[in-house]
Structure formats: structure tokens, C-alpha cells
């Protein structure tokens, strides 16, 4: 009879799954599942120089961000955390921020988005264009061809559209993008966003408070 079944082993199994799942979620909340990895400096100077930089050359700490414009977490980070990093750390001279392109293979519009940012960057508008691309990510990510949207963003930023178009046609940003990707691979980056701060590789969209903690540790090491 069904009523005579002993359900204790089943409830025990259910309890084990609930406790294990709860512990897993708790560890994800505390970030314990993602330990930073020590990484060495890039030996190839062309790779080391790749990317886009804001901040003082004399800043004691450099934050390197590896990001993909079509990656949702990268967009999330750009909206929620990058403004604080730029205002509180870069503008105050504590940090130099370097963005390296790391387009992921599963994202069909990434190559175009990275080219668009690079072509805006050719005219000094990389960071503004990167913000536009990230902030509007949910609008263009589902489009069949977002090239026109990117051009609209560039135009709104005051970019010379003729020069932008010729840059896009000739893919003049390709070498820097590929160098950024190679630098990421050489560093051990496999997902985006990833950050290198003070010689340590951190995976995932790190909140501002964590970034600040890592910067303080890097500052302390640099002062020794």
C-alpha cells in the first residue's frame, strides 16, 4: 500500500538537497566561490600596451578590465559600478583604468560593437561610446544588424561620421581588439568581465566595494 511507504529516506534526501543548495547560494553571495588568481605581467610589450586607458600615468595602481560589449554582466558592471570607479578612484588619481576588448565567440554582435567603440576611440570618444554601447545593450542585442544604431550613438556624441564609417569599413580597430583578446588569453581570462588589479585576476562583475578593497591592497603592496 502507498500509505505504508516509509518516507523518511525521501525527506532526508530532500533536506540534504535543500541544505546543499542553500550553502551553495550562500557561498555565491559571499563570493567565496571565486578566489583571485595571481598573474604575472605580460611579457609581450605590444599586448601590454593594448586597450584604452583613462587616468593618470603616475597612478600607483592600474585596473585592467577585460570585457565584451555584448556580455550582460559587463553592461551591468558598466552601469552600476564603473561610474563609481571613474569618479572615486580614477578622477582622484589613485587608479588608472585600462579597458581591453575581449569579444566572446558566442556573441554575434560583439565584433561590430568593439569595432564601433574603437572607431569612436580613433576620434577620442572611446569611453563615451563604450558607455553608450553598454547602456543601450538591451536595445541593440536583439537586433539583426545594430550597425545603424552604433552609428547613431557615434553621431550623437559628435563623432565625425564620415571618418567613423571609413574606420568601420577598414576595420582599423581590429589590431588593438585582437591584441586585447590575446592579452586576456595570456593572462588566463576565460569569461567576462574579468579584472586584473595589483597582479591578481578577479572574475566577474566585482562590486565597487570589492574593487576598492583590492585597490587598497594593491596600494599597500606598491608602498612597500
Amino acid at each position: 500500500m502507498a500509505q505504508s511507504m516509509n518516507l523518511k529516506p525521501f525527506y532526508l534526501l530532500l533536506g540534504v538537497v535543500a541544505v546543499a543548495g542553500g550553502a551553495w547560494i550562500w557561498s555565491a553571495r559571499s563570493g567565496a566561490a571565486f578566489e583571485p588568481v595571481e598573474v604575472g605581467p605580460l611579457s609581450d610589450s605590444s599586448l601590454a600596451a593594448s586597450g584604452w586607458v583613462i587616468g593618470s600615468q603616475s597612478a600607483p595602481v592600474e585596473i585592467v578590465e577585460y570585457a565584451d560589449f555584448e556580455c550582460g554582466a559587463c553592461g551591468h558592471w558598466a552601469i552600476l559600478n564603473a561610474p563609481d570607479v571613474k569618479e572615486r578612484l580614477v578622477a582622484t588619481g589613485r587608479v588608472r583604468l585600462r579597458f581591453r576588448d575581449f569579444p566572446l565567440p558566442g556573441h554575434p554582435h560583439s565584433p561590430l560593437a568593439h569595432q564601433a567603440a574603437a572607431c569612436a576611440g580613433e576620434q577620442g570618444g572611446f569611453w563615451q561610446m563604450a558607455d553608450q554601447i553598454f547602456f543601450n545593450q538591451s536595445r541593440w542585442v536583439g537586433e539583426r544588424n545594430p550597425a545603424g544604431m552604433f552609428e547613431d550613438y557615434a553621431e550623437a556624441l559628435g563623432i565625425d561620421v564620415g571618418q567613423y564609417r571609413s574606420c568601420m569599413d577598414e576595420q582599423r580597430g581590429a589590431a588593438n581588439i585582437e591584441a586585447g583578446r590575446q592579452a586576456g588569453l595570456a593572462t588566463g581570462v576565460s569569461s567576462t568581465p574579468s579584472f586584473v588589479i595589483g597582479g591578481k585576476l578577479f572574475l566577474g562583475a566585482q562590486p565597487y566595494d570589492s574593487i576598492l578593497k583590492y585597490v587598497e591592497l594593491a596600494e599597500a603592496r606598491a608602498a612597500q
Partner: protein
């Protein structure tokens, strides 16, 4: 009763996944374990919300309902009744349809795959099948674990 035990176990796993994705969506988890970032792309797309609420929260409610139905159906006085299985059928059926829609969006519109969403789609499909088998067994007038005839 076996179908209700299977449903309860899988609904609990689905509930945990939904809680995880929902906590990330509301900012309580900084990093989503997803590999290539596809989960974030899907979660942050305009399809990441349904009726103004994160899809993961709807999943949390649906799996919570399935878990409650299955556990209720395991209590002695409910074991021979069809209502808990009907609840499972309705909730998991709606879940299968919604998961099919989301899977279509991932493949054809968003062009990114959320691995947790795929796992959830498999879970809810298995729960639906288990509920369907349980319903048919109950409809034949036998308890789910009793031999027919």
C-alpha cells in the same frame, strides 16, 4: 506516490536555481556562475522581466507551488486524492509552455544561452511528465504506487 516524490525533489532543485538567479537579478549576488556570460545577457535583456517582475521570481513562485503541491500529496490523507497531482500538472504545464517560449527567445532573438534556464526547462518538463504519469495512474482508479488490476 513516486511521481510526487520525483516532482518534489526536482521542484526543490528548480526553486534553488530560481532563488539564485533572482538574487543575482536584484543585486544580492555579484557574480553569476555561467561560463560565457550568456546567463547575464538573457537575464538583462528586455525578456528578463515578465509583467514587470524578474522571470526568475516567477520561477520561484511556480517551483514553490509545485513543491508545496507535491509535499501535500505525500501526506497520508492526500495520497489518494487527485488535487495535488492536478496542481502539479497545471503549474508544470504552464512552466513547460513558458520555458519553451524562453528557449525560443534565447535561440532566435537574444542569441545567447542561459545554462541555468536550460536546466530549469529540463526540470519542469520532467516534473510535467511525472505529473502526467501520476494523473493517468490515478485516473485508472489505483493509487500511483499500487499495481493496476
Amino acid at each position: 506516490m513516486t511521481h510526487r516524490m520525483v516532482a518534489a525533489l526536482l521542484a526543490l532543485v528548480g526553486l534553488l536555481i530560481s532563488v539564485y538567479l533572482w538574487l543575482w537579478k536584484v543585486g544580492a549576488i555579484g557574480v553569476l556562475a555561467c561560463g560565457d556570460g550568456g546567463c547575464e545577457t538573457v537575464q538583462l535583456s528586455k525578456y528578463g522581466d515578465f509583467l514587470g517582475v524578474p522571470v526568475a521570481f516567477w520561477g520561484l513562485l511556480a517551483y514553490g507551488g509545485m513543491l508545496a503541491s507535491a509535499l501535500l500529496g505525500l501526506q497520508p490523507r492526500w495520497q489518494m486524492r487527485r488535487e495535488p497531482t492536478l496542481g502539479l500538472l497545471v503549474l508544470s504545464g504552464a512552466g513547460v509552455l513558458f520555458s519553451a517560449y524562453l528557449t525560443y527567445l534565447e535561440a532566435a532573438v537574444i542569441h545567447a544561452w542561459c545554462r541555468w534556464c536550460v536546466v530549469s526547462a529540463v526540470l519542469v518538463t520532467v516534473i510535467f511528465l511525472a505529473a502526467l504519469i501520476g494523473w493517468r495512474t490515478l485516473a485508472r482508479g489505483t493509487a500511483p504506487d499500487e499495481p493496476a488490476g
